[in-house]
């Protein structure tokens, strides 16, 4: 498959939960191209996790279609399983090994990879995520952030083409969030891993997203675009129950006061914008 090729396609799916709650993920088609960093923002209960579970074949839609790597994950997940890494919202659900090292080796050994190669793969991912100091620890006693890293290691060990993350930043301290963003961007840049994540942290979106989807109600996918395009339309986003990013609020406030520094979404962009205006000002005065 070439870069830019569609690897995920979801077309208006309906799912009904046992308590008869109906979720209809419709509106825009959910499409993910190879190499993209895709984020889904939405309020609690709008269907973000439901969508991810359909991509993983855990849920099967009553209506509509889901294609991942060209296959229906509900029927043929075993054929694409090795290409997909998953980090669930509650990582306790997915960590199965007694120790960190055992858990990282879990998937490679299941797929019949020879022990020596599996250990080499595990070593690579342990080094990348810098979790060598905890590899011998019993998973049960790790902190939330450490467990997230272990879950991520388990998801990355087989070098997946697609990484699916359900609210990966929830419960992490600021340094751990930074760390995770750096790792995800490195993986995307160096290895071209595509990722799909759901998140609530609006301020982090621009740092880790190429394409942003907004979801509201019970699965209504109504916006798709680059973060700057979507946050630029903030007036229309209040009904998504979202707060605009802090930087957007700041620079919109400054604009109202007659200080137009543009619409940066990231700290580095904001610094550049202010500096450019400052330099321009100095030039004009002299």
């Amino acid at each position: 498959m070439r870069d830019g090729e569609k690897i995920v396609e979801v077309d208006c799916i309906t799912h009904v939960y046992p308590d008869m709650t109906k979720v209809q993920i419709c509106g825009l088609d959910f499409i993910v191209n190879r190499g993209e960093r895709v984020s889904i923002l939405g309020s609690n209960g709008c269907g973000k996790t439901t969508l991810l579970k359909h991509l993983l074949g855990i849920l099967v839609p009553r209506d509509g279609s889901v294609k991942v790597f060209g296959l229906d994950p509900g029927k043929e997940y075993s054929k694409i399983r090795e290409k997909i890494g998953v980090v669930m919202q509650d990582v306790d659900e997915q960590i199965l090994g007694p120790t960190v090292y055992d858990d990282i080796l879990f998937a490679p050994l299941n797929y019949g990879i020879p022990k020596a190669k599996a250990e080499a793969l595990a070593k690579d991912v342990i080094d990348r995520l810098n979790i060598g100091s905890i590899q011998g620890k019993i998973v049960h006693y790790l902190s939330g952030g450490e467990k997230k890293k272990v879950a991520l290691a388990g998801a990355l060990v087989l070098e997946p083409e697609l990484l699916i993350l359900d609210e990966p930043f929830t419960g992490l301290d600021p340094m751990s969030k930074r760390d995770l963003i750096r790792i995800l961007n490195e993986l995307n840049g160096e290895k071209g891993i595509t990722f799909i994540m759901t998140l609530h942290e609006v301020d982090l979106v621009s740092e880790v997203t190429d394409v942003l989807y907004l979801m509201h109600g019970h699965g209504d996918l109504s916006e798709r675009g680059r973060p700057d395009e979507i946050f630029g339309r903030f007036k229309d986003l209040e009904h998504f129950n979202l707060e605009e990013p802090t930087l957007t609020k700041l620079f919109k406030g400054l604009k109202k006061e007659g200080l137009d520094f543009g619409d940066p979404l990231r700290i580095d962009e904001a610094i550049r914008s202010i500096k450019n205006h400052w330099d321009e000002n100095l030039k004009n005065r002299s």
């Binding site: 306790d92 659900e93 998937a107």
Partner: protein, 208 residues
């Protein structure tokens, strides 16, 4: 997978006359079913009891997929086929007793919200006993969710593959260990939360 949440939904949302009947009367009815199971030695009597229960099942418009829940205990009852030395009458008796019991229980759970059941039981049984039963029942929901999630994790990470049966068996046994630890953890956390919220060995139900 047993959809207990669907059973709960049916109990709360059902509109049949059996749903509207008082929980006390339904529990008394269930007590008579148990009495019948214990005392009846004649397959024809048990068959009649089973027919009555089946009729109630269908009159209450309980979906057929819930009916499959009544058949699970037959897996264990089938052990009696070997113990009995293949005596047909004995096997029939055991199967009918099991089916009457399981159908009665599922009928009760599918037509009565469980808080109502425990509230009714609380009037005749010691509160600590009823509280323990209630928490056990709630814990089943929680454990089933954990079990389902563990199953998903095994599936997503290649833990269950027929072409590697030995590895799969090891993973299943590890997953059970994982389940036990999660269960113990969850019950400890639940108890701590309850104590922090003033729990004193009795749960109060709406309508008391």
């Amino acid at each position: 997978m047993i959809q207990l949440s669907y059973l709960d939904y049916l109990a709360a949302e059902g509109k049949s006359w059996l749903h509207r009947l008082s929980p006390k009367l339904k529990i008394i009815g269930m007590a008579f079913v148990l009495l019948g199971i214990v005392t009846l030695r004649d397959p024809s009597g048990l068959l009649l009891l089973y027919m009555v229960l089946l009729s109630l099942f269908f009159i209450s418009r309980i979906p057929l997929k819930i009916f499959s829940l009544t058949l699970y205990p037959l897996i264990f009852a089938s052990l009696f086929i070997f113990i009995s030395g293949f005596q047909i009458l004995f096997i029939l008796l055991i199967f009918l007793k099991v089916l009457c019991g399981s159908t009665g229980v599922v009928l009760l759970l599918a037509t009565t919200p469980y808080p109502s059941i425990f509230r009714a039981l609380g009037r005749v049984l010691p509160s600590i006993f009823v509280t323990a039963l209630f928490l056990t029942y709630r814990s089943i929901f929680i454990l089933l969710t954990v079990f389902e999630e563990t199953q998903h994790a095994l599936h997503l990470r290649g833990g269950l593959q027929w072409r590697h049966p030995w590895r799969s068996l090891i993973n299943i046994s590890n997953a059970f260990g994982h389940l036990i630890i999660q269960g113990i953890d969850a019950s400890e956390r639940m108890y701590e939360s309850m104590v922090l919220r003033g729990f004193k060995n009795k749960i109060h139900y709406r309508g008391e």
